[in-house]
Amino acid sequence: MTLEQSERAAQVPPSGIRRFFEIAEERDDVISLGVGEPDFSTPWAARDAAIASLERGQTSYTANRGMRELREAISDYVERFDLSYDPADEIIVTTGASEAVDLAFRAFVDPGDTVAIPQPSYLSYEPGVGLAGGEVLPVQTTEDDEFRLTSEALEAAGAADADVLVLCYPNNPTGAIMTEADLEPIADFAREHDLTVFSDEIYAELTYEGEHASIAAFEGMRERTVVFNGFSKAHAMTGLRLGYALGPAEGIDAMNRIHQYTMLSAPTTAQHAALEALASCENDVREMVDQYDRRRRFVLSRFAELGMPCFEAKGAFYVFPKVPDGWDCETFAEELLREEGVAVVPGDVFGAGGKGHLRVSYATGLEELREALARIETFVADHA
């Protein structure tokens, strides 16, 4: 074989949900609660700005780090999270927050380094660590702790010896959030054991109780933390692929050196949309957050009523109910899809810590949610 894949590529696992896709394809009445992106369209003002930029012919590369005006707007925007970054050299605009995550693993992880990742967690961190030659150290979070990370869990997992700690709060898949008080011991732990922290805050705006807190805002954390954020979730811009990373100048410079060869610059049209999103779409974001919050309460209430209680997820757009006794989450998700045409993601796709749970996305209209929950209720009753 001439195209023999590298060992690095070979170790990247295939998608855990491919077979579910195939089952879903066979039906035309599937209601999907398996979606990790907003059901809202990008606010019209942002789309309109993107169209206008195309009409003006603004289709060349931008500066590697992104348009200066956009970096300035991002710098102003993140002040709401008590973060302060210089647009000149502490911000890099990337092709989705995904690219920022990838750049960080490549820029800061050496072969043999240990990267502590709370479980369950979004799926792209592990392959990122693997491609950088690092080792993943899973750190379990539990429903008893509302899937928050604790310093005890870090201690128990041996994270004191790790090099990097990845945080993803509000969390995909659990919907857990970490308040300032929850983060404090984690910040202490990171400083004490000299950990680098990657904090994926892509769901920051989707916090339904209190305010989002960033670990980078703690004293002594800024210099050791890279924050990832972007426009996909809060501004419903997934397909426009636009994110950014914030960090100390040397760190962002390292990421930019890779980015300049591998990506050159993030999509220009999307940068124009993002600039407008920050300039004028605050109300659209608030409206979407209000809608998510209502659906969140609705879904939590319905799961409680049908006998699948779940902890009160306060962030992102996921709830994480336990499957009823006697089920494993894979079988439940598959049978539910086959029998009732409702798509949910089995929790163990997100690591062993998600076993026995389902990730249920409420990034779907209320009418569909109502129907989907009715079908789940039927399914649970039929199999009781």
Partner: protein, 161 residues
């Protein structure tokens, strides 16, 4: 503040059931019922109506926006004129507005002739009304905040992580 929250949901969709409103808020069903009763009793909520796209129906429905200019005198104020006009069932909305004219009146009837007759025979003769300008609605694109087009397609994948 529960009334405010309930009002917001009713404005979004007046057909939400009491149970669903309770699920979406931190209120019990009886609290939701009480809030609705209070909103109705206080006259905050005056009614519940369907938002209709008339283009989707066979029956013709003629609507017009009518600009009205009036003169006032010591005995007659805006409210007096408005009260008189609002009593006609053809008048669907009546608002005093700033700008080039005084009243903005929405009229609805079964035919153009009916609207014309109404304006010329019932509205124009009112002594205080000095001028009417009638604009027939040709096509409606958005009503009560609801876009009447096909909307944006949901072309998301059924699973994404």
């Amino acid at each position: 503040m529960s009334e405010r929250e309930v009002l917001e949901l009713l404005r979004e969709n007046a057909r939400y059931s009491t149970a669903d409103i309770a699920r979406m808020t931190d209120l019990s069903e009886s609290e939701v019922e009480a809030a609705i009763e209070e909103l109705e009793a206080a006259g905050v909520v005056r009614g519940y109506q369907a938002v209709v796209d008339w283009d989707k129906l066979e029956d013709e429905r003629v609507r017009a926006e009518v600009e009205l200019n009036v003169t006032l005198d010591r005995e007659t104020g805006y409210a007096d004129i408005a009260e008189r006009l609002a009593r006609f069932p053809q008048v669907k909305a009546l608002r005093l507005v700033s700008g080039d004219y005084d009243f903005d009146m929405e009229v609805e009837a079964d035919s153009i002739r009916e609207v014309s007759q109404f304006v010329s025979e019932k509205v124009a003769p009112v002594p205080e009304i000095t001028q009417t300008v009638t604009h027939y609605v040709m096509t409606s694109y958005k009503e009560n905040g609801i876009e009447l087009g096909d909307g944006d397609d949901d072309d998301r994948l059924s699973y994404s992580l």
